[in-house]
Symmetry: C2
Subunit: 341 residues, 2 copies
């Protein structure tokens, strides 16, 4: 089975974005705040959005299941206050839940959190509980920078985040560490902020004892880990200079990298440098890079092809495509087993 | 000849740091502002600092010449105002000039600029002129984030930077795009901020027409280009989505990557993915990662070994070690030719 651990609902019906624009207008004081109940999207519209997009491409590429979360760039936790984020997260999470209900063989939901800059992280727990207990979510996306490119929150190792971690550990749910839209003109969202977020989060974990406090907490660092595998020697050397244990012991029971790296040499490096047990297949399709690589004739984000061409053993491919995901996302494993898979 | 294009005076005599601490105390209002003339460092002290450190390691590794600039983490342009940065830059640049005068066969100076957050970049030109005309500097370090991790300046493609670029073009001097100390708790300086700065700067160039305006401006992106070569497919795909020319035409006449990547697989990827003409040998020795890799028994930052072990042709190695540097840094080439090298 091929499990893509990183998909977002980037192709939701236009009504969703229109509702959000009304909410943003209201935040700006330019319109009344829309009610959640004013958003109406039918099951047929969701089916169409999925069947013509993600599910079509999954079938073309032979992906079986996608861990599916709200569109990352639209989380935009920097807009408005906690109430705004809370309403928006609830709407987006319901959308992904409905996708997973309509296509239970193909999509397992992951939740965005109602983060808001400066608000305590315990405020996210009610939505987390709802998404896990009522919606069957198998993961969450955690934004390490709810300010949207100003990095005004404490690092992930700070106790600011601990109430949320306690709930993640309680539910045995991993967090993908995924920033959202950059509202800082220095950072292109998908070309800089995403990759910087990945590198930054990894180094925050390295320069801390976070996983001593939470030995079962698990983070998935997307986009192939940002700059980390390419600079693995640098990080090993920094860990040594900071008198940390070897990265294998210090972080790799808790930190995993996805395969959203959009060319063969990058995947070759990732699979060569990072232990196979720490690599999770993902494409982030349909996402930031939708075009066809003129050098190969394939989609840049057709990462299955790179993984299969990277010279791994069948056992290693199985771990990357399925085995590791079943271990890192135990609620996904339970869901699959209940389906007889 | 082996030219290391990225070295900083990290081992300057302690009096330099002590003077800077007095200056910082004065910025905080805790002491009177020290005068530049109160800093006294003898030639013998400089000789000792260099001979026991950088020059010793250069001899061990067989590096012939280092492009030598003030310690990057100490630039700290976020501290104080323009006058503070200006005095500090003048002192640090004089130190590197003295190193290059004492060891003209081994060190060519590169300047830090007296940047200060929010101050117009034309304020850097006088120091640039002094460093090029009087000190023989062959390059400058340009900090794309003088705020120190808050990224409060405009992107490098903004006209804010153009007065400085005009002077760089006039002197035909390249700029290494190098951030300094992070004063944002989210960003570890050498483990996140440096790499993020590299990725961010590259994407700012990609998402702009900067090199249409300045066709002869040259940027060196240090630390192997941050996350860029590892994600080269992503950047090629983003360029395509942004309707830019291919990266070869769009950026690679103007953007170069150094080899400060501290393990073999990273250098293998860099030399495989990036055209040889765009790679400049560098180690950033003695820098952020000073230890010995227990997996290899060699220093993490002994990048000459990785380049030589990466299976390149002798011609490609020559370009990386010497040829490209002579082309990208014409004032270095002239200096070497004047020495009969």
């Amino acid at each position: 089975m091929i499990i893509d651990c990183h998909g977002h609902f980037t192709t939701a019906p236009a009504a969703l974005e229109q509702w959000r624009m009304r909410q943003i207008d209201a935040v700006r004081g330019a319109a009344p705040m829309p009610r959640a109940s004013e958003l109406r999207i039918s099951d047929d519209e969701i089916r169409e959005a999925i069947e013509n997009n993600q599910l079509r491409v999954m079938r073309e590429r032979g992906h079986d299941l996608t861990i599916f979360s709200p569109r990352a760039i639209f989380m935009a936790h920097h807009i408005g206050d906690y109430a705004v984020s809370s309403t928006w997260a609830a709407i987006c999470n319901e959308m992904c839940f409905r996708v997973s209900s309509l296509f239970p063989q193909h999509f397992a939901p992951a939740a965005m959190l109602p983060q808001s800059p400066g608000v305590e992280t315990s405020s996210c727990i009610a939505e987390l509980r709802r998404c896990v207990e009522e919606y069957g979510n198998v993961a969450v996306n955690l934004n390490p920078d709810p300010s949207g490119g100003h990095w005004a929150s404490p690092p992930l190792s700070d106790r600011y985040w601990y109430p949320l971690y306690e709930a993640l550990v309680e539910y045995d749910v991993p967090a993908m560490i995924h920033v959202s839209q950059s509202c800082n003109a220095c950072f292109h969202t998908t070309g800089a902020h995403y990759l910087n977020g990945d590198t930054t989060a990894f180094m925050q974990c390295l320069d801390s004892e976070l996983f001593r406090d939470f030995p079962t907490l698990r983070f998935v660092i997307p986009h192939g880990g940002g700059a980390v595998p390419y600079h693995w020697g640098r990080f090993r050397g920094l860990a040594q200079a900071l008198r940390k244990p070897r990265l294998q012991e210090h972080l790799l029971k808790n930190v995993f990298f996805d395969t959203c790296v959009y060319h063969q040499p990058g995947i070759d490096l990732l699979t060569h440098v990072i232990p196979i047990d720490n690599i999770l297949f993902a494409s982030e399709m349909i996402g930031a890079v939708r075009g066809i690589d003129p050098d190969t004739g394939r989609n840049f984000d057709d990462t299955r092809h790179y993984v299969e061409a990277s010279g791994l053993s069948p056992e290693a491919c199985f771990q990357i495509f399925e085995g590791n995901a079943r271990r890192v996302y135990p609620r996904l494993d339970a869901k699959l087993k209940a389906q007889g898979r």
